[in-house]
């Protein structure tokens, strides 16, 4: 027991090592939140391009670009994408690691969010679309007033799940030297030559956030189901 106390002090209290975890968590959360925003915005645009093409046959060229984009992003590991963004696309030492990470995870998430939105839009019965058009709404108005609100409600669970996945995926940001939560624990390990406690602490923090998020999502889902009209 004594040795646990010593080890705890050595790993977290001495030289304020706990700050590696706090600052790392901050970085992890910043990357996740910004990447989610990029992912949702870009993913939405891609989904609209893809579904508009499927429904109307228009936007052929944009649809082709979108399809290639989805295939490439979903067909390669996110770590490789991260390395390419940092060492090939950014490729100069003054660039911000954090920005590189945000962009990578944002662009990566967009591909998955796009497919979530797309399946949501396609899940809305075509009769809804036709009813909108028959009232005189144009394509865009029909989408905005009638299709998107229903589609969005349908995909909220999948979308929330993507946030959880993304949060965990950002743990590879350390590959290019971003000091996120995982890297924070790893730095402590390299200082104290003690692996168990710092990594356990990191795992507990991820687990806690994921558990809270999951709980919030299921609450939201229940609320949505109750207001299911």
């Amino acid at each position: 027991m004594n040795s646990f106390k010593e080890k705890f002090i050595q790993n977290f209290i001495e030289e304020d090592r706990w700050m590696y975890l706090v600052n790392g968590l901050k970085t992890t959360l910043i990357i996740t939140v910004l990447a989610v925003l990029i992912g949702i915005a870009l993913g939405f645009v891609i989904a609209v391009i893809r579904t508009t093409h499927d429904k109307t046959g228009k936007l052929k060229f944009l649809n082709l670009i979108a399809k290639v984009y989805l295939a490439v992003v979903r067909g390669t590991p996110v770590v490789v994408q991260l390395l390419i963004i940092w060492f090939v696309v950014f490729a100069y030492p003054t660039a911000s690691l954090l920005v590189a990470a945000v962009i990578t995870f944002g662009l990566n998430s967009a591909a998955y969010v796009a497919e979530i939105f797309r399946s949501g839009i396609m899940s809305i019965d075509n009769g809804q679309f036709e009813a909108g058009r028959s009232l005189g709404f144009n394509y865009i108005q029909t989408m905005i007033y009638i299709v998107f609100p229903q589609a969005f409600k349908n995909v909220l669970p999948a979308l929330s799940n993507e946030v959880v996945v993304l949060l965990k995926e950002t743990s590879v940001a350390g590959y290019i030297g971003v000091q996120d939560l995982t890297r924070g624990g790893d730095i402590i390990r390299s200082r104290t030559y003690e692996a168990f406690l710092p990594l356990l602490a990191v795992a507990i923090i991820y687990f806690t956030i994921v558990t809270v998020l999951t709980w919030l999502i299921s609450k939201l889902e229940r609320r949505l189901r109750n207001s299911d009209h």
């Binding site: 019965d125 009769g127 809804q128 036709e130 009813a131 909108g132 058009r133 028959s134 009232l135 005189g136 709404f137 144009n138 108005q141 007033y145 009638i146 609100p149 229903q150 409600k153 299911d228 009209h229």
Partner: protein, 247 residues
């Protein structure tokens, strides 16, 4: 055809193919103001396709449709403007499930006709009263019976103050005991002088309300007549055969 009648929709040699399936093979007819045209025919004969080309939900392969003097099959015409004047009622109701009944009825007049919320709601409430559903204004579609949904779908279309109403088998998805209430709304509408084109299997309704009955078979209008002639003196063998099966 008498000349004192104003032509509302003029259909000329309308053809529609899906890939290599020719569904409409040249349909020519006039829909006059105040007409109640009932369209009947075997399953798959192209009745729905014909109705849906009238407001361009299906784009014709060839032929023209003049609506109120405008060739709406012309690519340069803004079809959305003209659709506002053509109400449509679907077999599956297609109410918007995420909106209340009142919102279902007012969203188009507010967004498209630029009516004020008060004005649109007043009109909607008046129509709801006419179909006996004014107490359901704040309900959601999932809380209504099929017959109620279809009556709402009809008045939702009426909120746009259309010049013609298109019905595609409006009672086919209903439990038998709810058919009557929907037909009653349509009967009242006809009495008020609304121009209507109705695809239906309700022969009694056709006999009673229509002024013209049209038999579509194999993509053409095989026969057309007043209800009396249509049901009592069918001319073509196809129609005789069809009527012997459904009557």
């Amino acid at each position: 055809m008498t000349t004192n009648k104003e032509t509302l929709i003029q259909v000329t040699d309308l053809q529609k193919s899906f890939k290599n399936l020719d569904v409409l093979k040249g349909i020519t007819t006039d829909i006059n103001k105040g007409d109640v045209v009932v369209v009947i025919g075997p399953s798959g004969s192209g009745k729905s396709t014909f109705l849906r080309t009238l407001n361009l939900l299906e784009v014709p392969t060839s032929g023209t449709i003049m609506f109120e003097g405008v060739n709406i099959t012309d690519k340069h015409v803004d079809i959305n403007i003209h659709r506002q004047k053509m109400g449509m009622v679907f077999q599956q109701f297609n109410l918007f499930p995420h909106m209340t009944i009142l919102k279902n009825m007012t969203i188009a007049p507010i967004k498209l006709l630029k009516k004020s919320k008060e004005e649109a709601e007043a009109k909607a409430m008046e129509l709801l009263k006419r179909v006996g559903l004014e107490d359901r204004a704040e309900a959601y579609p999932s809380q209504l019976s099929g017959g109620q949904k279809q009556r709402i779908a009809i008045v939702r279309a009426l909120c746009m103050e259309p010049d013609v109403m298109l019905f595609d088998e409006p009672t086919s998805a209903l439990d038998p005991e709810m058919v009557g209430e929907v037909l009653q709304v349509m009967r009242d509408l006809a009495k008020d002088g609304m121009t209507m084109v109705i695809v239906t299997h309700e022969m009694g309704f056709a006999r009673e309300v229509a002024n013209r009955v049209m038999f579509i078979d194999e993509g053409v209008i095989m026969e057309e007549a007043s209800p009396e002639d249509f049901f009592n003196n069918p001319k073509s063998d196809r129609l005789k055969d069809f009527l012997s099966k459904v009557l």
